[in-house]
Symmetry: C2
Subunit: 416 residues, 2 copies
């Protein structure tokens, strides 16, 4: 189903190599944007708030097309939300999330992602950090978390911040290595089966079944992060793990940040009934939902079919960008690179067959005005590197900018 990649070198359960040839990696978010640390009282209050660098062609994997955002409709939803809920604006809402939003979300998840749940199982949240924070409190007796290696470092760090032990489990072209998982002592595993982050591999059906069997046999929990599950461009959809789960072992996490906008910071989690029961025994302050106003707006957005319409629109948009990017890479970078993860999601992975380090490639791209992203932070442990791997997001770039960007990469990497 996927192009063979050959980058998974570590054997199951292994993972400690001392081969990484470079130490200094480029942070995926510019550090200067993360904290404003100048302690000068005289600082300019009107520094632009954007993290976008207009002068760069930025293959930012977290960016979306800002023109695709339905400003007028969203404004209308906000206005309606405020007006129709005006008598509730003076009160705190349900910390688990507004009942109305959870109800329409349950319908959406059933219809579109095969996730079968009641509104009572849904916890509306303010992002992955929040969701993982709750899960580590709920599952506080199981401190060993198996984690995709390479995997989404921001989520891995949340487990570490919350005092968990993280067991890196190598990823192959079928997702997380089940043999390695089975031999680990983990009681929780975090996976991205729809489109593994960052490699892009998709977990086939038989592996999903085997993963569920592992969880059932061990009374373990699977955290299924379906972060960009709405974006599948080729082939038949594979059912979510949650939809195949008959024993309440899957915790499903989804987000509005990929389809609509990351600016709302709104996500959701579907807990198995047993964990909802456990949650009810915790101090209720552990929960705090995002803005009620935006939750009400999101409810109307889904109810009035804008959500489905928007998904179709951006899926088509990003499918085009995705195909265009693959075409550009094939045409301009051709035999110098190898692409993986090209059937889904909002980014691709690219191995660059050149005797340069990742840092050298990123630096020379940056000098040419192009930002591409590192793979290194996604690894917990050091690992053997055949070819440097970079990843490129395409959702935030126009076709023209993409073309300019790839041509610049061709020039700076292979023609100079």
């Amino acid at each position: 189903m996927l192009t063979a990649e050959g980058y998974v070198v570590s054997k199951p359960r292994s993972g400690l190599f001392v081969v990484t040839p470079y130490k200094h990696v480029i942070a995926s978010i510019p550090d200067t944007e993360v904290y404003d640390l100048s302690r000068k009282i005289t600082s300019n209050p009107h520094i632009p708030t954007s993290v976008k660098h207009a002068d760069f062609i930025d293959f930012d994997p977290t960016a979306l097309d800002h023109d695709a955002f339905p400003i007028r409709t969203w404004n209308k939803m906000l206005k309606e939300a405020l007006e129709s809920h005006s008598s509730m604006i003076g009160n705190y809402g349900n910390p688990q999330g507004e009942q109305g939003l959870r109800a329409v979300l349950a319908d959406y998840l059933r219809n579109s992602r095969g996730v079968y749940c009641s509104p009572e199982q849904i916890v509306i949240g303010v992002g992955m950090a929040y969701s993982i924070g709750i899960l580590t409190k709920l599952l506080k007796d199981t401190r060993s978390v198996a984690f995709e290696e390479p995997g989404y470092n921001l989520v891995r760090d949340q487990f570490l911040l919350n005092g968990c032990e993280v067991l890196p489990i190598s990823v192959n072209d079928k997702g997380v290595s089940l043999a390695a998982l089975e031999e680990s002592k983990a009681q929780i595993v975090y996976v991205t089966p729809s489109h593994q982050f960052p490699t892009g591999s998709i977990m086939p059906y038989p592996e999903r079944e085997r993963l569920l069997e592992w969880a059932n046999a061990r009374n373990a929990y699977i955290i299924e992060d379906d972060y960009d599950g709405e974006f599948r461009y080729l082939g038949k959809p594979i059912p979510s793990l949650q939809s195949l789960d008959t024993h309440g072992r899957v915790i499903y996490i989804g987000t509005f940040s990929k389809v609509l906008t990351p600016a709302l910071r709104m996500n959701y989690m579907v807990l198995p009934p047993k964990l909802i029961e456990q949650l009810s025994n915790m101090p209720h302050e552990v929960l705090y939902a995002p803005s009620r106003v935006e939750q009400w707006a999101m409810q109307s957005f889904i109810e009035q079919d804008n959500w489905y319409r928007h998904i179709r629109k951006v899926r088509n948009l990003y499918r085009k960008r995705h195909h265009h990017l693959i075409g550009l890479i094939q045409n301009h970078l051709g035999q110098h690179v190898e692409i993986t993860g090209q059937n889904a999601g909002l980014h691709i992975q690219m191995a660059v067959k050149k005797c340069k380090t990742t840092k050298e490639l990123i630096d020379s791209a940056a000098e040419a005005g192009v930002k591409v992203y590192d793979f290194q932070k996604m690894w917990m442990n050091q690992h053997p590197v055949h070819y440097p791997k970079l990843y490129l997001g395409f959702a935030g770039l126009s076709l023209a900018d993409m073309e300019t960007g790839i041509r610049l990469l061709q020039k700076v990497w292979f023609m100079e």
Copy 2:
């Protein structure tokens, strides 16, 4: 400055009594609203989302007047925010909070609360649970937190949830007992000096100075929660602790939930420079700001003077309600009760001089259709009780409803 109360019975450093005559207390938020635990898939998706019970006269201390919320202006701010920031809607924002909002907030805090800080010291957050979560990670080597007794249980629980040891320090009519604090081993103290929650006492200037000296001498941190600092109805304002702090020992926390609406779930924290520096050394995933759209809207709301105008409006509104409530209580409940905390804030404390338990008083009020709130959860330890104490919020009730409510209390408590 404040009416003598006589309710502080525990001596400094003590606090363990076995006097509490009642075990079953009414939760301050109805439990049924906190979790929807029915696991029936068939649940009605259109259950109303409000936590307000229209048929009750509810002296809810967390409620605000929903009619005071400037719907039209806020809609305009949201619309402008989306339109003027449309090119940023596809990107994540600064996890510390939008620079523009932090800049206008720094101005506001300096002008109105005497809090002197740079925008770089401000962390925009999604509520107290989030802020305390960050602080406990930042101050992870100091696990002993002195906490007002009685104090705000929701905040206390956050310290406990994050693995801190909480040392209850008794509160008197000048705020937290400094003698008890000085003899404790605490390295952090959480205080609400503007209007102690829940007793309503205000910390006088000399006590503020002494508290700062304690922090300086011990290199300790003071967490100043100025949750309703905008609401002072009588007497000269007393400077915030942060404004008196010359050694960077005060962490100042404020919220938009009391002046504007709790539905946004937006607050902020001002960190001393040293802690901002420490924050920069933590994994940046520890931070996640609320919705960018609402942050942009809030920035415009403050910039365009709507914030100041709104504070004046609601301060006048709540001053009237406050005076009216005190008058009603004096007229109808008279010598049966004793009120404290009447100079500030959005709630009062009322001792009921009757040989009934708090539960009995709350239950009989509820039977008459009036919700008043318990004091018990605010205590960490058991304590001697002279008279049952209840607290009544007034911001969410019209003058007419207040009058009906107090008359009903008179009837059910003292005339039957």
